[in-house]
């Protein structure tokens, strides 16, 4: 499929969504919704049929643009709720970048934990800790939201920092030692060899095992059969060798090419095997935060004298001007 078709479909979807927006004068929401649904369905169908003949670099630029643009909008938007929503957009775009970097587990954890939990907490607090707008001043922002504090100076500071970081990156990253790809691949194979169930499942799916064969034959002696993965000499394939400790290597099967360790498994090996204790540390951090939050929120707080006087004055003004019930 030509990508132009996909982009045309997406543009059509955009038109549909724009039409579906609530509007005062001409209400074409239903038509817009239908157009958007047709375009979206067509795009999904086309992508599935084309096997995602994708443009990975374009994805990077798109996600980076969305992340940075919404981050900019977040720090400039005067209304806190909108700022939080734009931050959620930044999070989603970052999750896209994580996906390009093949960190699938962290991408979805980011969406669930950050966008789903942390940002919702922020939204709750924004709604809790906001003065109720008075009747005649519904749209007026608070002073501290409407005006930035020394914007020029802060921008200079931020961009000097960015310039320093950028020049460091461009002079430093090219002098990094090159990566030992073969060692990394060998480590992945060694980790895959620790997962006999995965290998068995993969071999069975590729019809390389007979129906009555299993990798772990004796449940009482589960590690009797050792698995080694080694490259086939002179070839491009890998094969799995089953070593019976008593009788030596007895059988070798070539592994299907797509039977490789997955991101979640790599992360799990790194998390639980290479760095034991990380879960405990994370748990302690979370528990301390929970205790602190409980202690803080149990405290009874009296309104300041100053703030109380201000509040009564505002109430009096409201009553004078007719009040909300008048």
């Amino acid at each position: 499929m030509h990508p132009v078709i996909l982009y045309a479909l997406l543009a059509l979807g955009a038109v549909g969504v724009a039409l579906a927006m609530p509007r005062r004068t001409l209400n074409v929401q239903l038509i817009g919704g239908l157009i958007a649904a047709v375009a979206g369905g067509g795009a999904v169908l086309a992508l599935t049929l084309a096997g995602l003949d994708a443009l990975p670099n374009l994805h990077f630029y798109a996600f980076a643009f969305i992340a940075l643009a919404s981050a900019l909008r977040m720090i400039t938007h005067p209304r806190p709720v909108y700022a939080a929503l734009y931050f959620i957009l930044t999070i989603l775009a970052s999750a896209g970048l994580y996906l390009i970097l093949s960190a699938e587990f962290m991408a979805f954890a980011l969406i669930i934990i950050y966008a789903g939990a942390i940002l919702i907490t922020y939204l709750f607090v924004i709604m809790l800790a906001t003065q109720a707008p008075s009747e005649e001043r519904l749209d007026v922002l608070s002073d501290y939201d409407a005006e930035a504090r020394s914007p020029v100076l802060a921008t200079i500071v931020g961009f000097v920092l960015l310039g320093a970081l950028t020049s460091m990156i461009f002079s430093g990253a090219s002098s990094l030692p090159s990566v030992d790809v073969e060692a990394a691949a060998a480590r992945d194979e060694a980790q895959l060899a620790l997962l006999p169930r995965r290998i068995e499942e993969g071999l069975r799916k590729a019809d390389l095992l007979e129906d009555d064969e299993t990798l772990i034959m004796d449940p009482e002696d589960a590690y009797r059969v050792l698995i080694e993965i080694e490259p086939v000499p002179g070839g491009e394939d890998r094969r799995v060798v089953f070593v019976d400790e008593r009788s030596g290597p007895d059988r070798a099967i070539e592994l299907p090419a797509d039977l490789r360790i997955r991101n979640v498994e790599t992360l799990a090996f790194n998390f639980l095997n290479a760095h034991p204790g990380t879960i405990e540390i994370a748990g302690i951090i979370l528990m301390m935060a929970m205790l602190g939050a409980v202690v803080l929120s149990r405290k009874q707080v009296q309104l300041d004298e100053e703030a109380k006087a201000e509040q009564t004055a505002a109430l009096a003004r409201m009553a004078e001007g007719g009040g909300p019930d008048a």
């Binding site: 670099n57 374009l58 990077f60 630029y61 992340a67 940075l68 981050a71 977040m74 720090i75 700022a83 939080a84 931050f87 970097l101 960190a103 962290m106 980011l110 950050y114 907490t121 922020y122 607090v125 924004i126 800790a129 003065q131 501290y144 939201d145 005006e147 930035a148 802060a154 921008t155 931020g158 961009f159 960015l162 970081l165 461009f170 990253a173 990094l176 790809v181 990394a184 480590r187 491009e236 394939d237 790599t266 790194n270 998390f271 994370a282 951090i285 979370l286 301390m288 935060a289 929970m290 602190g292 939050a293 803080l296 929120s297 309104l303 300041d304 100053e306 703030a307 201000e310 509040q311």
Partner: protein
């Protein structure tokens, strides 16, 4: 064997981001640095306590992107493991900071950071 895996496996190395051919480690580091700078600017300019904490979350996020990019570059999962800590610390910070913000709001009925300008120490 490795040749077939290479394009999915490595992140090319170069001195500066070229046009559209390859995306290098530097691209990701630049996005991360720009996001961090935006977070700093937001933290300095905004006067709303909640938005200031949101800006620290933005800086966390920038650090996370850098760590994931390095994890990919070195082909190991150490960076990804560390991002789990970033998430943990962000959650802990959200809980504590927001509890504090609610306390401060109850005391002064305002979210302005300047209302607390007389704090010493």
């Amino acid at each position: 064997m490795l040749d077939s895996v290479m394009p999915f496996f490595t992140l090319a190395q170069s001195s500066a981001p070229g046009p559209f051919e390859t995306v290098t480690l530097n691209h990701y580091l630049f996005v991360s640095a720009a996001m961090f700078a935006l977070g700093v600017i937001g933290f300095l300019t905004r006067r709303n306590l909640i938005i200031m904490f949101l800006c620290t979350e933005l800086m966390f996020q920038a650090a996370g992107i850098a760590m994931i990019a390095f994890a990919r570059y070195w082909l190991n999962a150490d960076g990804q493991t560390f991002v789990i800590f970033v998430l943990t610390v962000a959650a802990a910070e959200a809980a504590l900071a927001l509890a504090l913000v609610v306390l401060l709001f109850r005391k002064r009925e305002t979210l302005s950071a300047e209302a607390w300008g007389e704090l010493k120490g």
